[in-house]
């Protein structure tokens, strides 16, 4: 039944105290939930960023993305895309998004101890800001993955060193070659012998050089003769009695012939005047005319022959100035 009164003293304002306790508990619980939600950025405007990587080992939901050592974003979701690459969805509060620019670089590093770290690097803060929902490939550095690779490489290097320095190794062979080379350098043909690998080869080279010298001397003779030929050609074309002279003479001849033609035509004029005066003796006049025509024809033929000759020499019929070839 009920506790006996007085057995355990109960304070007067019991209900108030208990109400206070329960109320305080509820307020704290609700307040803490609100604080946790605030801490998770529920009441904050955010933007999204998707990082793409071929391996997200060590990345967990709720992990931070840091910039200059300060957390500016949180991993919200990790999923595997259809192409087999992992997608890390990161939520960045808008007030921290200004550190991310379109030129930012993202890295995913895994140390030997501790979880992976996602870092953002921005070289130029003046670049345009990173758009919402941007997708970037993440650069990955994995210490625990690097170590076996490094050890394997180191072992390879050590094996090579051992191989090189062994008695029948390539280093010994190289040193022997160097000695042979220095011996040749000290020999009769010196550097030439060392480069060519023996005295015989060096001799051949010397002979070749001598022959080349002879060849150059004969080439000098050829070029002198060529000079003579060229000067003769010059004389024939432009010298006295040359091609140009002949042409000038032909033109002068043509002038003479044209003068003759003019004379013939004057005579024809006179003859025609005589013909008008002496209309009685038509027979005699006509015989005179036939002789005269033959003379004119001959003159004309001469003219046309000269013109043809000129045309043959100067193939520019109506072009009066003379061009030299």
């Amino acid at each position: 039944m009920e506790r006996e009164p007085g057995f355990t003293p109960v304070p007067k304002n019991l209900q108030f105290r208990i109400g206070l306790l329960i109320g305080f508990t509820v307020v704290i619980a609700v307040g803490f939930v609100a604080y946790a939600l605030y801490a998770r950025g529920v009441f904050e405007a955010t933007q999204r960023l998707t990082l793409i990587s071929d391996n997200v080992e060590g990345v967990g939901v709720g992990m931070d993305m840091s910039f200059s050592g300060f957390p500016i974003g949180r991993v919200n979701r990790i999923s595997l895309a259809d192409d087999g690459r992992a997608r890390i969805e990161i939520v960045v509060p808008l007030k921290d998004a200004r550190w991310l620019r379109s030129s930012s670089i993202f890295t995913l590093e895994r140390g030997i101890v501790g979880s992976a770290k996602i870092r953002a690097f921005t070289a130029n803060l003046q670049d345009p800001p990173l758009p919402d929902g941007a997708e970037r490939t993440v650069l990955r550095g994995d210490t625990s993955e690097e170590i076996p690779r490094m050890v394997a490489m180191l072992r390879g290097v050590l094996e090579n060193v051992e191989h090189v320095t062994s008695a029948d190794g390539s280093l010994q062979a190289s040193l022997a070659n160097v000695r042979t080379m220095t011996e040749r350098l000290a020999g009769r043909h010196g550097v030439l012998g060392a480069v060519l690998g023996g005295d015989d080869e060096a001799k051949k080279v010397v002979a070749t050089i001598e022959r080349a010298n002879a060849l150059l001397a004969s080439l000098g003779g050829v070029s002198r003769r060529l000079d003579v030929v060229l000067s003769k050609t010059d004389q024939r074309v432009y010298g006295e009695g040359g091609l140009m002279d002949g042409t000038q003479r032909a033109v002068a001849q043509a002038n003479t012939i044209l003068g003759e033609v003019r004379e013939s035509l004057k005579r024809l004029d006179r003859v025609l005047a005589d013909a008008e005066k002496i209309s009685g003796n038509a027979k005699a006049a006509s015989s005179d005319l036939a002789a005269l025509r033959a003379e004119v024809d001959a003159s004309l033929r001469k003219v046309s022959a000269i013109l043809e000759e000129i045309n043959r020499k100067w193939p520019f019929e109506r072009n009066t100035d003379i061009r030299l070839p």
């Binding site: 039944m1 009920e2 506790r3 355990t8 109960v10 304070p11 019991l14 209900q15 105290r17 208990i18 306790l21 329960i22 305080f24 508990t25 704290i28 619980a29 803490f32 939930v33 604080y35 946790a36 605030y38 801490a39 998770r40 950025g41 709720g62 992990m63 931070d64 957390p71 949180r74 101890v113 501790g114």
Partner: protein
């Protein structure tokens, strides 16, 4: 374990289950909430939570400060001090303090309530009430169950709050400059799933601590010698139940 003891063990859990269903049914009925019942419940909260509050808060604060110091020193030794606060939150606030609170309430009030109910059975008060057509479940048991559960939740919330504050102070001192980092760790640890798990576990602890000792006390007979056996059985079952809840919660979270 001989067959008889096994049978008794199962019978004990059967009694607990029956009692739990009866209490749940009574708690869902509006007619149970009489002024008398509320008075008994208020008194029970006073004895279970209020009287223990100051001492328990002091204990929580000291315990947290010591744990944080040890954790930070050890983490620094390994160069992992960035994880110290997260470790304190995950281990102390989410796991150890709720369990310690439940054990404290079980030891302090559970044992007392179990003995009280066993004495009621032995003195024949329960039968007398039943003969007077008064259901002892509604009059005596339901307020105690509700009050114990509420007290446990309240004490857990208080001790965890004190631990959160003590952790901040012993990590950063009395400066506001650790607040950003602190908030970040809070965000990492107290995800909605973690908060929901924490709440569920608090309720499960409350139910176990409230129901199992009373069920054990009611299991006593008129024989005076049955009281220690009944109370001991109840406390063992309670310890087993608390361990089971903790293990199940850890398994769900980390396995």
């Amino acid at each position: 374990m001989n067959p008889q003891a096994t049978l008794a063990w199962f019978r004990g859990w059967g009694t607990v289950a029956r009692f739990a269903f009866a209490v749940a049914a009574a708690a869902l009925s509006r007619s149970s909430y009489t002024p008398r019942m509320l008075t008994i419940a208020t008194r029970q909260v006073y004895f279970t939570a209020w009287q223990a509050l100051a001492g328990f808060i002091l204990f929580s604060a000291l315990f947290t400060v010591i744990t944080v110091e040890i954790t930070v020193a050890a983490a620094r030794g390994f160069g992992l001090e960035g994880y110290a606060l997260e470790l304190v939150f995950r281990v102390l606030v989410l796991e150890v303090l709720p369990l310690l609170t439940a054990l404290m309430v079980a030891l302090r009030s559970g044992a007392a309530i179990s003995t009280e109910v066993a004495l009621m059975r032995i003195s024949g008060n329960l039968e007398a009430a039943q003969n007077e057509d008064i259901d002892p479940l509604e009059r005596e048991f339901l307020p105690r169950v509700l009050a114990t559960a509420a007290s446990l939740v309240s004490l857990t919330v208080m001790s965890c709050t004190v631990a959160l504050v003590a952790a901040y102070v012993s990590m950063y001192g009395f400066t506001p400059w650790g607040f950003d980092e602190y908030t970040r760790v809070v965000a990492q640890v107290f995800s909605p799933a973690a908060l929901a798990g924490f709440t569920l576990r608090c309720i499960a602890f409350g139910v176990a601590v409230a129901i199992i000792p009373i069920a054990a006390g009611a299991d006593a007979t008129h024989d005076l010698k049955s009281a220690p056996v009944a109370v001991m059985g109840g406390m063992v079952r309670l310890f087993f139940a608390l361990g089971l809840i903790e293990a199940a919660s850890l398994a769900v979270k980390y396995v």
